[in-house]
């Protein structure tokens, strides 16, 4: 019983860690996109 409960608690902890990594990745992507847009505008790159 305890082993099963521990396995599932571990999976939940992993899931939350991956969710945190995803959020941080999304923040990184947002900043990178902002930088790309800024550079495109300064270089006059369309599309």
């Amino acid at each position: 019983e305890l082993e099963h409960a521990k396995d599932m608690a571990l999976l939940v902890a992993r899931r939350e860690k991956v969710t945190l990594d995803l959020l941080e990745q999304n923040m990184r992507i947002f900043d990178q996109r902002s930088n790309v847009k800024r550079l495109k505008r300064s270089l006059g790159i369309r599309g």
Binding site: H4, L11, Q32
Partner: protein, 103 residues
Amino acid sequence: EYEKLKSELKKSLATRNKLEDEFERLEQEIYEKETEYFSGNNATSNTGIAGNRFSYGGNIIKGFDGFNKSHHHSAGHDSHNRGFNNDDRIFSLSSAIFVKQQQ
């Protein structure tokens, strides 16, 4: 510099895709583990007493009261055998995404 930024952005997007796949895989694994655990269909459900094979599982949601006593009865008369329904999936249900998908 523009090409470098583009390349880094592409890598970040690829990493994000991998993380999303990992998330889905974990949600699926949690769901399957719950099914295995709560329906008591695990191969380790054996008291070691010859000829007796009790199915039990789910004490993490139904509590451990009477845990000792319930293993002296046969599975058919187990007063703690309350069945299993989707509301018992407390691990899966801790994810709002899972709840939304169910809805």
